[in-house]
Amino acid sequence: MKIKAPLTHQNEVQFLCDAGADEFFCGIEPGAWRTQYENFCINQRVGSANFSKLGDLEKAIRIAHQNKAKVHVTVNAFFYLEKQYSAAKNIIRDALGAGADGIIIADFGLLSLMDKNLLKGKDVVAGCDTAVFNHQSTAFYKKFDVTRIVFPRAMTIGEMEDVIKQDGSLEYEAFILHDLCFFVDAFCAYCKESSAGIKQEGKEKKGVSFFAAARVPARGFGGGCRSRFSRQRVYLRGKKKSTPGKAFTFWGSKAALGCGACAIYDLNRIGVTCLKVLDRNLPTEEKVKATAFIKKCLDFLNGHTSKQHFISRCQALFKKTFKVRCDRYGCYYPSVFRSGER
């Protein structure tokens, strides 16, 4: 199994390779794109989470290749405006020309416009935003020459196994650490940058800031699953209503950060080939820590170990690495702990 690590700067590559990364995913958003297409991202992250210069990306790819690691470039906005397609195609062409080993997409329209010769021998990864929950969806995406599928976050091990059993010709990737989203990425109005988040423009001057959104930057509301609401419950029988004002968040008392290390035993068994560590916005030291943690968990698989023993070792390592006990609340694949669950 390979480990895929997030990358935002060429200086990170060697550290992440030393920590155990076999692949990288990154984005490139040239300044011209941002200037021309204000607030429309080329992928699901904005600003400092992307390379802004092709030269920097090229350097990063060179270092990765020296360490025998692959680099995939994300071009996975849900869709692009008509005029953006040619710019997006050029960005992909340049990234592949700089040595990138593949692209991650969500819009098959963009894929259909690409020169097929450009993608020959490259990985074409259908990102989690393509919402592949069944084998018929993999068959759909294979028609666009996709070579790898990233499973959505909200799948059980059994559901992934059902898909892989039906079609073993593709590579399969699963999320493993950080950034556990509440909603299905492909079906969320707040998915990362695709919603109009409050974007501060420029530096604050004399206590005045400019924002490209009208949402009051009040505490407790950033859009999406981490927002705080006041809830009123309406019962359908008898049309009884509770008193409004009960505090509510989608996650309950605390947001789940996301770790699927205990599921690596089963993910390996069912044929998942790549584990994706998130996210690109984290500082380098956190990315390195996360990658090293997953690498050590993978090392536990070597030799004959039982699933229970593997899980115990992962949980002990989690506590040692992140200084917090695993309480299963932030588990990516809690079905691992349920007997009879698929």
Partner: protein, 296 residues
């Protein structure tokens, strides 16, 4: 076997076809055969609530007798859900029922193109159309007065709203289906109609050659598989812990920052934005789909 063709009233020139979305047998009580010309049967967002074949047969029979059109609505599905849908589709094929199918899953679209080629008219569902559904979008596009916000440092910061550029304003009314590349591909896969949310910021219908349905009054915001998260067991295991709580209650969520109330039923959140029939017809919408309850 006689071919069963559902006769339904075509939308007359200058009139919009009215459809009603019925999600289960109990909700047939909302059906008014004189007011509506079509029934949308099924669910968009949750495979746990796919109607049984027996209920589908009853709904179809009722629709046929009333001379109404019939549209089967399918949610996104895992392997188990696609088997349940396949059972219904296989029966419709055996009975030679010509009807519409709304797809919210690429796998279901693939299934219709392989096992049921040219058997059904296919509509692209709201989950796959991928519009910009943030309920705060209207405030983003309209000039707002400056406000003072107390920061974590205790100081008051003045926040001035800058209205986004015109490209952005047009872009947030667009969706996946506005691009020519996607239109070509989707047409090759047999898409003849698209199902649309009535967004608070408006919808860009330019260049859309398909037939168009507009849903009222519920615009879907986000969908999850982690439902409902009420008990400790549900918060821990999240998936496949459903006891169909959505059939017992729904939640109204409020936040001062939002101009709209959010309705949460089961695994999906919504806001309300009703359709003006006259404006819809003028814009090229040929069907309005009325949802009498918060959908699921």
């Amino acid at each position: 076997m006689a071919v069963i063709i559902l006769r339904y009233l075509e939308a007359e020139n200058g009139k919009v076809e009215k459809a009603i979305h019925i999600t289960n047998i109990a909700n047939l009580r909302y059906l008014q055969t004189k007011k509506y010309q079509r029934v949308y049967w099924g669910v968009e967002f949750c495979q746990n609530l796919i109607p049984s074949l027996e209920d589908t047969q009853k709904a179809l029979e009722l629709t046929r007798r009333a001379g109404m059109g019939f549209t089967l609505v399918c949610p996104f599905v895992t392997e188990s859900g696609i088997k349940r849908l396949d059972r219904i589709l296989a029966w419709l094929k055996r009975e030679r029922v010509c009807c519409e199918v709304v797809v919210n899953d690429w796998g279901v679209l693939e299934l219709l193109n392989t096992d049921y080629k040219k058997r059904f008219e296919i509509a692209l569902g709201r989950l796959l159309v991928r519009q910009q559904r943030d309920p705060a979008m209207k405030r983003v596009l309209e000039k707002q007065p400056p406000i003072g916000v107390k920061g974590k440092d205790g100081k008051i910061h003045i926040v001035v709203h800058r209205v986004p550029a015109e490209k952005y304003q047009i872009g947030v009314k667009s969706s996946y289906i506005n691009s020519r590349a996607n239109q070509r591909i989707l047409s090759e896969f047999g898409i003849e109609r698209v199902e649309l949310n009535n967004l608070v910021q408006g919808v860009d219908l330019n260049g859309l050659k398909w037939k168009k349905s507009l849903y009222t009054p519920y615009v879907h915001i986000s969908t999850t598989r982690f439902c409902p998260m009420d008990s400790k067991e549900q918060r821990t295991y999240r998936i496949n812990v459903c006891k169909k709580e959505c059939q017992k209650y729904y939640d109204i969520l409020r936040n001062r920052a939002l101009p709209k109330i959010i309705y949460k039923r089961g695994n999906t959140t919504f806001y309300k934005n009703s359709v003006n029939n006259r404006m819809a017809l003028k814009a090229g919408i040929d069907r309005i789909v009325f949802q009498p309850e918060i959908p699921f």
